[in-house]
C-alpha cells in the first residue's frame, strides 16, 4: 500500500510544486495520476522515492514513513522512469543482474534473468546485447523487468508509455495488469488519457500541485475523461451541441 498525507513540496520557498496531496493506492490497484507538464507528477514520485525532501507532510509505503526511513522504504518500492536509461556498455542480462542484486536479491541465476527478460517481451538475442544498441521500447521493457525482479510491493511509474509505439504501449499495459494481479500497488503518472482510461482503477487529476479530482473505475468508464481532463488542465468547457 502506498499513501501520501498532506504531501507538500515548495521549491526555493516560492514555487509550489505539490500542495497537501492526500491519496492512497491499495495493493492490487492501479492508480493513475494525470496532469500537464509541471503539474507535480514527477515531483510526487521523486518524494515517494526520497529523491527530494518534502517541505511538509509525509508519504508511506507499507506503513513505513518514507522521509524518516528511506532505505527501509525503498525495499518496498520499484521504479520505472519515463526514459529507462541503463548502463549502456552492459548487456541486458548484466544490467538486470546488477539491479536485481541492488534490489536485495542475493543470488540470481541466468535462467531466472532470462525468464524475466522473456516475460517482458525482449527477444532472446537481445539478452546478451549491449543496452546502447536498444530502442526506447526495449529499454522500457528492461526497466519493467528490473521492477519485476525487485518484487517490491509498490511500483512507481513515471510516464512509462511516452514515446512507445502502439504495440509497445499495449504490451506494457499487459505487463502492468500482470503486476496488478500479483497484488502490487501501482502508481503511474502520465498524460496519456486513453491508456489511463484503459488500465486505471482510479485516476487523480493533478493541476498545479493540487489534486483537483479523483475518479473511481465506474466514474472513469462513465465520464468523458478527455473533456474532464481538458476542463481541469486547460480550463476548456465542452462545446454544446448545435441544434
Amino acid at each position: 500500500m502506498l499513501e501520501t498525507r498532506d504531501l507538500t513540496k515548495v521549491y526555493n520557498e516560492s514555487v509550489l510544486a505539490v500542495n497537501e496531496l492526500n491519496m492512497k493506492v491499495e495493493d492490487g490497484e492501479i492508480y493513475v495520476v494525470l496532469g500537464a507538464n509541471g503539474a507535480g507528477k514527477s515531483t510526487t514520485i521523486s518524494m515517494l522515492l526520497n529523491f527530494i525532501e518534502p517541505t511538509s507532510g509525509t508519504a508511506l509505503v507499507d506503513d513505513i514513513e518514507i522521509p524518516k526511513f528511506p532505505l527501509e522504504a525503498k525495499k518496498h518500492l520499484a521504479y520505472v522512469s519515463e526514459n529507462v536509461e541503463l548502463y549502456r556498455n552492459f548487456t541486458a542480462r548484466q544490467n538486470l543482474s546488477f539491479f536485481a542484486k541492488l534490489g536485495g536479491r542475493k543470488k540470481v541465476s541466468n535462467a531466472e534473468l532470462d525468464a524475466t527478460l522473456g516475460r517482458v517481451g525482449l527477444p532472446e538475442e537481445a539478452f546478451t546485447r549491449r543496452v546502447k544498441t536498444f530502442s526506447k521500447g526495449m529499454r522500457q521493457r528492461l526497466g519493467i523487468a528490473i521492477a519485476i525482479m525487485k518484487n517490491a510491493q509498490a511500483v512507481l511509474l513515471d510516464e512509462p508509455t511516452s514515446g512507445l509505439d502502439p504495440k509497445g504501449g499495449a504490451d506494457f499495459l499487459n505487463l502492468l495488469r500482470e503486476l496488478k494481479e500479483e497484488g502490487k500497488a501501482i502508481f503511474m503518472s502520465t498524460h496519456d488519457i486513453f491508456r489511463a482510461k484503459e488500465i486505471a482503477d482510479r485516476i487523480g487529476i493533478l493541476v498545479q500541485g493540487n489534486l483537483e479530482r479523483e475518479l473511481t473505475r465506474e466514474e472513469i468508464q462513465a465520464e468523458d475523461l478527455e473533456a474532464l481532463y481538458l476542463h481541469y488542465v486547460a480550463g476548456y468547457e465542452p462545446a454544446e451541441d448545435e441544434e
Binding site: I52, K101, L102, K150
Partner: protein, 468 residues
Amino acid sequence: MFLMLIQKEMMHHILSVRFVALLLMCVLLIPLTLSINYQSYRQDLVDYHEAVKLANIEEKTMNPKMPLEPEIEVSKLIFKPAPLSVFAKGLEDSLPSYLGMTRNGITQGPPPTFSAPLSQLLGHLDFLFVVGTVFSLLALLFTFDAVAGERETGTIRLTLSNAVPRDLFLWSKLIGSYLVFVVSFLVSFLLGLLLLVWQGFPLGESDIFPRVLGLTSISLLYIAVFFVIGTAISTYLDSAKTALIVAFTVWVFAVLITPRLGFLAAKVIAPARTAQSVYMEKKALRDDLKADLEKQKMKLIREIPPDDQGRIIVTGEKMNELMKPVEEEHRLKFQDHVNRLDQDYKRETKRQEQAGEMLSRITPTSSLIYLATSLTQTGKIQRSNYLQTGDRYYDMLYTDLFSKIDDYAARRVYNPATDIVKITQPPPLETDTLAETLRRSVVDVLLLCFFAVVLTTVSFLKFFRLDI
C-alpha cells in the same frame, strides 16, 4: 552491496573508451619516458666524469705569492647528476654545470641547456610530467561524469530507487574508478621499473628504492586529489558536457597556469636584483677600491722624504711596509661590501622565491612537483645543497689560498719548494636523507591531503543535499 557497486563501477570503466586511452597512456608513456630518461642520465654521468677529469683539480697547485687575477677560476665544484633524475629532471637542466671559485667570488658554469636546444621549447617529458599533467587530466576524464553523467541519463534515479545509501553510492564511484586507474598506472609503472633495472638502473640501492616508493605514493595521492576534484565538479553540475568543460578549465588553471602565475605574482610582490647585476656591482666595487689603493700608494710615495741628495728611493720592503695597513683596510672594506651585497641579494631572491612557492601551492600540482623533485633530489633542496657546498668550498679556498695572495708586493721572491700549495679539494656534495627530505616536504604532503579531504567533504555534502 558496496562491493557490488564498486565492481559495477570498475566494469563500467573497463568497458569504456577512456579505459583504452588510459591503458595506452600508461603502457606507452611510463616505460618509454623512464627508459629514455635513463639513457639521458647515463650520458650526463659520462659528461660529469669527463668534466672532473678535465678540471684535473687533484693535480692543481698554486703559488699564493704570485699575482692572481680576480676572475680566474682556480677550482671548480662540478655538478653530479642524481640517478633519480630519471623520474623527474627537476632543476638539473638549469643548475650551473659547475661552480667556479674565483677571488671575486663564485662564478657559475653554463647549465646543460646553455646551447638552448630546441627541445627546451617543448618542455621535458619525464615521469613527473606524465603524472602531473597527463594523468591529472585523465583522472578528471574518469570522474567528470561520475554524478552528472548518471543524473543526465537517469541511471542514478534507478540506482537510488533501491536501498542504496548515498554515501555508499559516491564512495563506490570514487573507489571503483580510482582502482581501475591506479591498477593500470601501477602495472605500467612496474613495467617501467623492470625495464630500468634491466638497463642497469640501481633500483635496489638503499637510498633509491624508498624514494621510488615515496614517489609512487605521492603520485597516487595526487591522482586521488584530481579524482576528488572531478567528482566535486560532477556533483555540482547537471550536465556531463558542462562538467567536462568545467573540469577541463579547472585542469588548465590548476596544472598549467596557477603554478607559473604564483612566481610571476611574486616578482611583483617581492622584486629582487639579478645575479648579473650583483656581480657587476662587485666588479665595480673592486675596480674603485683598486683605483683608490693606487692613489693612496702614489700619495704615500710622494710623502716619502728625499735623501741627502734629494732622491726619493722606495725599496720593495719599505713600500710593502707602508701599504700593508692600507691594503688590509681596503680588503676588509671590500669584503664587508661584498658580504652585504651577497646577503641583500640572497635575502631578496629568497623572499621572492618563498613568495612564489607559497602562492603556487594554491594548486596541488605545485605540491606534487616540489615533493617529487625533493624525493628525486633534483629540486630546491638539492639546488640549495649544491650552492651551499659551493659556498663552503669557497670559504675553504679563501682560508687556504685567497686570503694569502698578496696583490701589491713590490718584490716577489718565489721558492718552489715552500710556496707551492695544492688546491684544496672540493667537498662532497651534500644530500639529504629520506627522513630529512620528508621532514622538509611535510607541508606539501599535508597540502595534498588537505585538498583530498576538503574536496571529498565538499563532494559528499553537496551530494547528500542533491535533488536527484
